[in-house]
Amino acid sequence: MSVAAEVEQRFAAARTDAGLLKAGLFVEEVAALAYAAAADGPLTGADRAQALRFARHERAHAEVFETMLFALTVPVREHATGADLQALMPALRRAAPQQAWERLAELEGAAIAGQQLLGRRLQALDALRSVATVMAGGAQHLVAIRDTLADEPVTKAFETGR
């Protein structure tokens, strides 16, 4: 199953606001791990620096989801681990630089698609503003990655993550 399909399944399985936000938290935590793994593996130089910076961004995004769960008085007992990353993106550490960026772009897109599912299903509508700020940050990551990959165009008229 593709990264996008697995992430989509995780969001789709959530039945409550807490479940949706936990799915969002998981994906941001995995993304932080993925960027860090790519920086430790195939990426070097400026690419590595970019990946490390995006890993920090993803950790900040994850903290927003955790804050929202705390606001819902939902304790966060589980966090994504290296094993989760390995299950979702098993070949990332061995990938060539271009393939690594492509996989990271796929994960960013899947996160955006999941966050837009929250736009449709979240009951606590004010929380959507915080979700959307994370989504906007992810969309900007996509532009930087598409530029690195020389993918054209770097922007979409309607960013669906797909």
Binding site: V64, I112, G119, D126, T133, Q140, L142, V143, E159
Partner: protein, 158 residues
């Protein structure tokens, strides 16, 4: 970055906690919440202003075309007739400022929309506007992603 992240998280927590505890402010104050068409009509005006600001900016032709698509979808969804404003200053700094204003407006409008499909549409356009900001920065040799939250860190902490 830790300081800015803390400021953002504090603001995000207050926003979400306040929303959950306090309900809808507009309704509690006895005011009619705006209709979806009114919300989209306001966004259309901002979209047209942001779109006008990129016309003529070097390397922004695709962005201008995508803005026109945003305006068309917003007009169709709201029933509003957007009038194309005159092209603005045609410099990247103005375009960035207008785009950032538009992104703020899209995000802030989200909880006001009753129709879930319109919320998704606004998120898709917000994602595109965030991308436009990054692309405009790239075109001027700047860091495309200076803030993990697409410019919201300072906005929410203010």
């Amino acid at each position: 970055m830790v300081g800015t992240r803390r400021r953002f998280l504090g603001a995000a927590g207050a926003l979400v906690g306040g929303a959950l505890l306090g309900g809808c402010g507009a309704e509690e104050a006895g005011r009619e919440p705006p209709s979806d068409a009114e919300v989209l009509g306001r966004l259309l005006r901002l979209e047209l202003a942001a779109g006008a600001a990129v016309i003529g900016v070097a390397g922004a032709e695709l962005i201008a075309r995508q803005d026109a698509l945003h305006a068309r979808r917003l007009a169709a969804a709201s029933g509003a007739q957007g009038r194309e404003p005159a092209a603005a200053a045609q410099d990247a700094a103005t375009a960035l400022a207008r785009k950032q204003e538009a992104l703020f407006a899209y995000v802030e409008a989200l909880p006001l929309l009753v129709d879930p499909e319109l919320r998704v549409l606004v998120m898709q356009i917000a994602g595109s506007e965030a991308e436009h900001l990054a692309a405009l920065r790239l075109a001027t040799g700047k860091d495309p992603v200076p803030d993990p939250f697409a410019g919201f860190t300072d906005r929410m902490a203010a």
